[in-house]
Amino acid sequence: MKRSSRNTATEISRRHLLQAGGGAAALATLSLTACDPAEGTGETDGGQGAPDPNRPLEAPELTERVDAGDLPPLEERLPVESDRLVVATAALGVYGGVYHGAVADQGDSPWLERMLAYEPLLRYDPNLDEFAQPGTLREITVNDDATVFTLHLRDGMKWSDGEPVTADDIMFAVNDVFYNTNIHATPPGLLTTAGDPCEAEKVDDHTVTLTFSQSKGDFIEEASRAANAVSPNLLFYPKHYLEQFLPDLNPDAESVAEEAGFGDWTAYWEDRIEWWNNPDRPVLYPWVITDPLNEGNVVHAERNPYYWKVDSEGAQLPYIDRLEFEIIQEEEVMLLKAVNGELDFHSRHFNSDANKPVLAEGRESGGYHFVPVQPTSMNRLVIALNLNHQDEELRGIFQNKDFRVGLSHAIDRQDIIDTAYQRQGEPWQAAPHPDSEFFDEEFAKQYTEFDLDLANSHLDAAGLTEKDSEGFRLRPNGERLRFSIDIANLFPEWAPAADLITQTWAEVGVDAQVNPIERSLFYERKEAAANEHDANIWAGDGGLKIEMLEQRWWFPNGGESNYATQWAEYYVNRGEGENAVEPPEPTLRQMELARQIPLEPDVETQKEIFREILQIAKEQFYVIGIALPTAGYAIAKDNLENVVESFPDSWLHMTPGHINPPTWFFTP
């Protein structure tokens, strides 16, 4: 078996630990090497001289409970010394304090996940550059053709109720949860290669192997991402607690569910696994929910006495005692609270460009500051013409590249940037971000020049030469070429930007109407089954740090590829599906390449294949981009320490989870 080539952090840890026999010196070295230097913006452990022998290694409240006999001593609660995850921190923290935050409502549980449930099997560094760093697993080793993965658990690691975390938990997650068709209609992508599920085998209490039928080149990368709907986590399900709800393991599961007032066991299962609504459920998180989201109006979480991460001096994390999230449905109220300095850290809901001046004004009195947030998207807005339009004639026009190029030239991007975006940004197509390794200037800048003559000649070339008395171009059937652009009420800048776009389009004889609609209607209209939209506008998700993960704008890969949801269905269902429509040759080629990427063990080869996908996207020019987004912001209280100076934001990584909230602490 060969160690994963990217797994440098773990290699170092292993070597040092073997040499030093797991001593504290090795842990300190490991902590400095294992974590990305970008995180160490302030002083690191080394800069602070010898460790203070009087510094407590656990929170005083836990020491009290140990003394009272309610809790085993720290040594027994942490994994064995060599298996603790050491997190390098800019400063060593002090225990105590309550974090005050806000959560919008029931639907906002992802914000709680992002803040306190970021525990993937392996981790990315805070800047999202390197993956395969140790996470809930100590490491994952892989054989040469990436078919057999060995998962190494941490010896002595415990769930938040004190029960040990073992290989059985992973076996349970794979066989009883992910392969249970009552819970998961199909096994998740992490556990399949080319549609084939892998086989899990328990080697010993702390080792599990996963064997795939073909290479699974993206396993380690995906295992390094946080757990959510799209990226399943094999250490999310405590077997000793959850097995009682599954009929396979508990014959009474059905009656247990009924007694609890649920229709069937799947409903009860889904209710019980939601840790934000179920304080009984053991977790591996730094804080444990005590008052759930669906009761009362404040969510409370208190420290997990069995948390398995320590700082570089071996002191148990997290530093902050308790988290409080007030349930605030109205974003304006959250904003007022933020201005009043009542939120300790927030990077969601109200952090729009429009609110920035208000928040900037309140910085001094509120005692908070801005933390720049690097967007991982590449565009403010992307116009997607529906290439699968129901109307055959419109479909033909939209699919004509000359038509799209003409429209692109007929957009005054600089004017939009100046008017709707406070002069922030740069004309940009739906192409990778300039900071991306896949950046291609030609792709980014093609057809962005505002030139009505050029636009007219392209539109003429598309065969739309006839015009009506008002100067609007006619379709082949003699009617005026007219279509609407759906926009959802997500960003306030979209509506004025769309108006500016349609104004200049009118000058080249294209009659487009802006159609602002409610978000769920927007979604309803663009579904492959409905396919009712002519065109629509959405943000340019992906393009930096997550180029290969978020592919919606490179080729039709799912329901979010607004320009061709029926082609996307063809891809998702592998040619099947009620609404699937076979795409043209170049798009098929992209799909084939995309399927090939995960089968490729070598990361560099994966990138080569991805470049070809991008190349085709550039030639196809599916959608029209407008402008590159500029940095967003989060707010953090001035007395909250160890918050990074800036961070990238991506839902795929459950930001801000990867910037290590357990290491935050309040200035004493």
């Binding site: 209609a185 007032g261 007030e326 109205e330 979010e560 839902w651």
Partner: protein
């Protein structure tokens, strides 16, 4: 009288049946269902989306793939035969429990608001009628109209800003963070009062204005009636006379509005509560409607419809008790 009450109660049954059907259909009218709303919300906040298979599984689990009449029957039969209003999709908890959690505060606020409205509008209304077209009358009328015309949520936002800017009170909710979980004490009670006046005044303004105007108009009508002149001619004191006769007659609106309080308990002023971040039933209903959480929304609407009907009955009875003229018409 008994016959009257029985008849009213019997009419209640078809009325509620019709209301339940209509609300259920209206809730289903907007495009999509709970799951599409949920997906739209997830993507809008950048939290990913659900896979097609997952979506299909959830659709079946929530019974959203069944025709509307089947969904309606599941809902209504559970209410009728088991007293079970169903589970909220969003909260994953029984509707009954959700309402129970929010009712005490809703009732407290509604009652306080009602008392506020009465306490303010009664003296002002009488004063305005007795001193018609005086400076005082114009002043109260002006502020009354202002309160009536300005949307409540706007007043709410302004008052919140004022209390934040000038009093430094933590806005939203009924307690400052430091008292939220503290046991009851004098400072906590003080903190509650510091927050409570905002919703009471906001809801009060509109109601007060309406009540003042109605009381004033009714009283003006009465004051010009011959019996008042006759009583005055016989030397009855003006103040005593007014209180004893015309005011009593003009009081009708106070009682006829009792009927509106009951539904108000449930639906409250959703938007104002939302803005003020009050844990009342109003925002619960608003959210349920937005999220197409149909069992929750349907049940809240059904219960408030029931309360409207009962409230109207109660205010009719109260009026009959107050005013013999009304009583004699039965």
């Amino acid at each position: 009288m008994l016959r009257y009450i029985t008849r009213r109660l019997l009419i209640l049954i078809p009325t509620l049946a019709a209301i339940s059907v209509v609300t259920f259909i209206v809730i289903q009218l907007p495009p999509g269902d709970y799951l599409t709303t949920r997906i739209a919300q997830l993507s809008a906040q950048g939290d990913g989306s659900l896979s097609a298979q997952e979506l299909e599984r959830l659709t079946q689990r929530y019974g959203l793939d069944q025709p509307v009449y089947v969904q309606y029957w599941t809902w209504i039969s559970n209410i009728l035969f088991h007293g079970d209003f169903g589970d909220s999709f969003v909260y994953g908890r029984p509707v009954g429990a959700l309402l129970a959690e929010r009712l005490p505060l809703t009732i407290l606020l509604s009652v306080l608001t009602l008392l506020f409205i009465w306490a303010v509008s009664f003296p002002i209304g009488v004063y305005s009628a007795m001193r018609q077209y005086s400076v005082g009358d114009y002043t109260f009328t002006f502020f009354g109209y202002l309160g009536l015309a300005v949307p409540n949520f706007l007043i709410a936002l302004v008052l919140m800003w004022v209390s934040l800017q000038y009093f430094g009170t933590s806005v939203g909710g009924l307690f400052s963070p430091e008292y939220r979980d503290a046991p009851w004490s004098m400072p906590k009670f003080g903190d509650l009062l510091a927050h409570l006046w905002i919703p009471v005044v906001i809801w009060g303004t509109a109601g007060t204005a309406a009540n003042i105007r109605v009381l004033r108009a009714n009283l003006l009508d009465e004051l010009r009636k011959p019996y008042v002149t006759a009583a005055r001619a016989r030397g009855m004191k003006r103040g005593l006379l007014t209180i004893k006769y015309p005011v009593r007659v003009a009081m009708n609106p106070f009682f006829s509005t009792i009927g509106w309080i009951l539904p108000g308990l449930i639906a409250a002023d959703a938007i104002t509560s939302q803005v003020l971040n009050l844990n009342t039933t109003g925002p619960l209903l608003l959210d349920a409607l937005l999220a197409q959480d149909m069992y929750l929304a349907g049940s809240v609407l059904l219960i408030s419809a029931l309360l409207v009907v009962i409230g109207t009955l109660i205010s009719d009875l109260a009026l009959a008790w107050l005013d013999p003229r009304v009583r004699l018409r039965y």
